[in-house]
Structure formats: C-alpha cells, structure tokens
Symmetry: C2
Subunit: 367 residues, 2 copies
Amino acid sequence: MDANGVLSFSDDLVFKKKKDEVLNNNNDNGCSHLQVLEAEHQKDEEDEEEEEEEEEDNSIIINGDDPLDHPTIPGWFCEHCPQWPGQAHFLKVDKVLFQGKSAYQAMLVFQSSAYGKVFVLDGALQLTEKDECAYQEMITHLPLCSIPNPKKVLVIGGGDGGILREISRHSSIEQIDICEIDTMLIDVYKKYFPEIAVGYKDYRVNLHIIDGSAFLSSVPPGSYDAIIVDAFDPIKPDDEVVRSKLFENVAKALKEGGVLCIQAESLWFPSLDIQILISKCKQVFKGSVQYAWTIVPAYPSGVIGFLLCSTQGPKDVDFKNPINPIDSNKNFGVATQPLKFYNSEVHSAAFCLPSFAKKAKGLRSNN
Amino acid sequence: MDANGVLSFSDDLVFKKKKDEVLNNNNDNGCSHLQVLEAEHQKDEEDEEEEEEEEEDNSIIINGDDPLDHPTIPGWFCEHCPQWPGQAHFLKVDKVLFQGKSAYQAMLVFQSSAYGKVFVLDGALQLTEKDECAYQEMITHLPLCSIPNPKKVLVIGGGDGGILREISRHSSIEQIDICEIDTMLIDVYKKYFPEIAVGYKDYRVNLHIIDGSAFLSSVPPGSYDAIIVDAFDPIKPDDEVVRSKLFENVAKALKEGGVLCIQAESLWFPSLDIQILISKCKQVFKGSVQYAWTIVPAYPSGVIGFLLCSTQGPKDVDFKNPINPIDSNKNFGVATQPLKFYNSEVHSAAFCLPSFAKKAKGLRSNN
C-alpha cells in the first residue's frame, strides 16, 4: 500500500489446505490477512482421470435448514431468494474449484454444467461466466454512455474486476478508483476468473483497500464524473442505504451532472416499488433518477435492476438516450473480448418498464 | 359441436376421484373423452384446518430419474430444461388442486407459494398466475398492434384462453377462431384459472376442436389478418415445424401483409441461433421477419422469445414500431383487468437484442 492508501498488485494468494481450520476460524479482528482454502479437488486439477472417483466430494449443501423451506440436493448448488420465497434455482456442480473464508466472507468457486464457472459469496451466487456480461456491461455503460467525456470514475465494491474491465473500454477515462475491502476476494477472482479480473490490469486503476463509505467521506466534493456501486444487496425503497449518509456522500462526491449507478431489486420482486424508490432518491439527487433493468438468467427471476441518479448540471442527464456510445469495433483498454451484451439499442430498451412497474404499488387497483 | 365444427361451451368437466385408475390409464384411442381426476386436496377445499395433516400428500416428484441429472424434492415442483441442462427451478407447492390425464396429456394444477396457481402439462410448466401477463399480452399485442385494423385472427393452441382474452381487447376484431384439440385442458383452465379462460366468453370466439395443422389446410387462402401459434415447444432453427408445411400453410392462410406470431426459444439457450432462424423463415415469409422477447420468471432462463413474420403487403410490416396502440384506459372486451405488462414502449424494446444475439453463432469469434 502506498502513501495514498493505494495497493499495488502482487499475486499474494496464500493457499492452505486445512479445510476445517479455515472454515471453523472465527477471525474477528477485521484485518485483511487472508485465510484461503484451496478445495481438495483443485490439487487434482491436472488429473482429470480421477474426476469421477471424486464425485462424492462435490456434494454442496448450502442451505441446511428445513428442507421444505430450502431444498438441498447433493451435487447441486442451490440458491433460494429471501425476497421472493417459495422458489429455488439449482445448478449442477461438475467440480468444486475453490472454497475458502476471508476475514469478511465465505467464498466458493465451482465449475457448473450450465453456466461455466460460478462464484458464490456467503451462499449467494455472485456471477457466472455465461451471463456476467449482461450485468457488468450494463452497470458500467448505462452510466458512462449517458454522460459526455467521463474522466474520473469511482467503483465501490465490484472486487471481481468486471466493472473495471468495462470502464477500461472508455478512452476518455483518466482515473479509475476502486474501494474493495476484501483482498482475498480479488485474488480468488484473479486466479479463477482471469477474463473478468483483467480489469485490474488497466494502468488507470487505483485499488483502495478500504470501506467505500469511509473512502467517500474523505474525498473532496465534486471529484467524480461517475460512481458505480456494486457492494450491497440490490436496493429497495426501505433499505437503510437509501436513507443513509452514503447516498448523500455519493451526491457530494460527484461533479455537477455526475451520475450514480447502483444495483436495484428485480422488478418482479414483490418487495420492490420502483416509483417509491425513485421518489426517495429524488430527495437526494436533484438531476434525473431512473430505474433500468437487464436479464441475468442465473439471478433469481432472471432479471436485475439498476438505479441511475444524477446530480444537477447544466441540463438533466437523459439516461434513456445515450450520448456517448462505445464503438464496438474499436478495442480500447484491457478487455480481451469485444462487448457481448451492451449496445445503444439495449441501453434505451433497459428503461422501458412493464405497465405494472410504472405505477406505485399503493396506487394500483389490483395488487 | 355445430355444423361448422364449432363447439359451444358447457361446463362439462367430469370429475372422478379414483387417482390410480386415471393415472394408470393408457387411453390411446385418440378420442377426446375426458378422464379427469380432482386431487384429493380439492375435496377439502373449504376445510383449511385439515391442510397441515395433508402435507405429505402434497409431495410432487415430477422427475424420477437419476437425482444427479434431475433433482427432486418432496413438496416442491421441479422443472429442468432439456435445452439448457444442468439447472432446475423449484417451486414450493402449497396445495395440489388438480391432477388428471386427458387422451393427449397429463395435467397438474397447484397453488404455489411464489407464483400463485401454476398449470403443468406433461411435467412442463405452462403458466403461472403471477407472470402469465408477460407472455399472453406480448404474444398477442406484438402482432396485433403492428398492423392496422385487424379483423380476423386465428389462434392455434392457446387453450388456456389467455390469448383470446388479450385479442378481445381489440375493438376492430370481428372474428376469433381457435384450434385446440384437448377439451379437457380448456375445462381445467375454466375451472381453476377463470381470469385467464375468460377469453372464451368473447362472443367473437369460435372454438374448433381440431388439430391446427389440419384446420389450416382447410381454410381459404388469405383468410386471416393474424395467426398466433401457441402449440409447440418454442421453436428453433432445426425444428421440424420451421421446415414443415405448417409454416407454408400459415403464410397461405394470411392476407397480404398479415402476421404470424409464434413462440421461439429463449435467447439465452445455447441451441438458439436467432439469425439462422430468421433467415430460414424468410424463405417462407416474404415480408418482415423479426425475433422479439419478453421476461417470464417462471420459465427457464427467465426469458421467452417470439418469432414475428409477415407476408408481403403494400409495404413491409414494421414490427418494432406499433401503429395500432391499445388505449389502456379503454376497457374493451371480456378481460376483467387492465393490461398489466404490455405498452408501446415495451413493444419496441422487445426487439432490441443483446450484441451476442445479433450475430449468427457460426460467425462469432468467440462462441
């Protein structure tokens, strides 16, 4: 870590193979010392012939509660959705690649039959190789393509590096700050998802190993053109985060006409009222506030939302009509592949809402 | 059935309570005589107090194969997706409302925790109360709002009546023909999903108990403004139906500038190549051919597609820009509720494709 609190990168992943020691470890000292477990399967990575014999070890039971509430099947990863209970999505596990626990959270990487490699944090699916493009490209380019000439961007969370990879495609960008508290998470992504973590290779990236809220309160007002938050559960109107200082600090840290993009709940979830969420955010963001969405089949309901907010500027940001398109034929930055999901048409379409989502639920005649 | 082969409606659902007799029945005579089982829970419909004691009877195991291929959990309905294997979606069953078998197929109706009532045909989830709006409204209004003044429409399949309900909202319509071969299916929908089957109450509806392909070959050329097909598995380029006489007969049965809308596979499925599907259909339909999609969280991947095709007319149909909008404030037809999902914005957005879906897979650098 340099004088500015910026960590330079080294491949400092520490592997320990004592599974019980790690999983039973209660390290509450809050430091970022890594305790990492390489799953037993991993040591046989080059030994594909032994794969079948190991099948029993692939059993993953994430939810050990009442099977009528959270079903479990050996050999399958199961995710249920507390926001929309009574359903569960199962993915077949071909091979467990990694299990470990940092000071902050438990991590699991497995090879799935359907979605390629999958990353799981504290039991919740974070991303899959198959559909991460739909999330990373949209959460990044929806804000960055809505404003002219973005130069300085802050990412809070997003430790996988995929948002960095996407920001990297913008040639106007001069500085990319990222706040990620869990260095083990970064290292696991670098090892198992190099095409995502490639974002860290961009020379404009500064990694700050610090809590995003603490970082935000320390930056001078008007620092950033865009802030992308990928650190919480998807927000909904009742969330603490909407009412908290974080939103106010984001607004302060943005330039005039600067934009925030943050994950928001799926429009299918009964707990989300988009209109109320928007009206709450308008109390903080005096420019534009819009809800957009994209399709991510590995996520509950197959959909995830985004909240886009802008501070007051010379004129309001028109999120629906991107003014800063990416030329998909130009290959700028560190991404090794062209855009898979995002284009200007999909950008505008993301703001089109089904009729039921256009009205505040309290006002609906039938809900 | 009248002289024109049109069946008038009566509530002729026959209930028999001998579960084993029905489930073990192998009625191969092809007639439409109904053999219907009302699930044991149903007889206690008014007796909610007994519900807990009956919990064991709610066990539904649809897929009894190798649990590593198709996981099963008692008390949960499981759907896996042959087109995208290695995943399964589970819905918690609160109460089985109906199980039965017609001459054609096995039916199951259950009350789910997450999606309201659910209808299952031969083990495949057909619709749920929660999200049927997204499917029914889109498969109907995408074609009907794309052409001026539609008068005569044919529905092939769609026995639940939801497409009829949606067509009914169009005041220009004079005649709605529907071909559905399984009268038991209609009756089950009428009993358990009255807000969907309400479509049959429209006075313009004529039900033809006949195979859609046979019906099509008997109608005079140029009969219909629109044909909506909801009878097969979602189509993909290799399907028999694309190469079959059915598509040619649909094209013949349409007026000049008439439109077809048929379910197509999810854009996430590895087996779908949208560009090849479109180019195959252009061999039959000389007007416009487009792929659109909507979000249906109970379906595998959370997305389902539609193929929209038009015959040659005075000018090509511009599917992306609806010219015949529905006034959502006017309440025309038999639907008891206003539109929940469809609006003109969502219509246009449905044709916007992620970048990966815009190229033929064979031409992609990375797939």
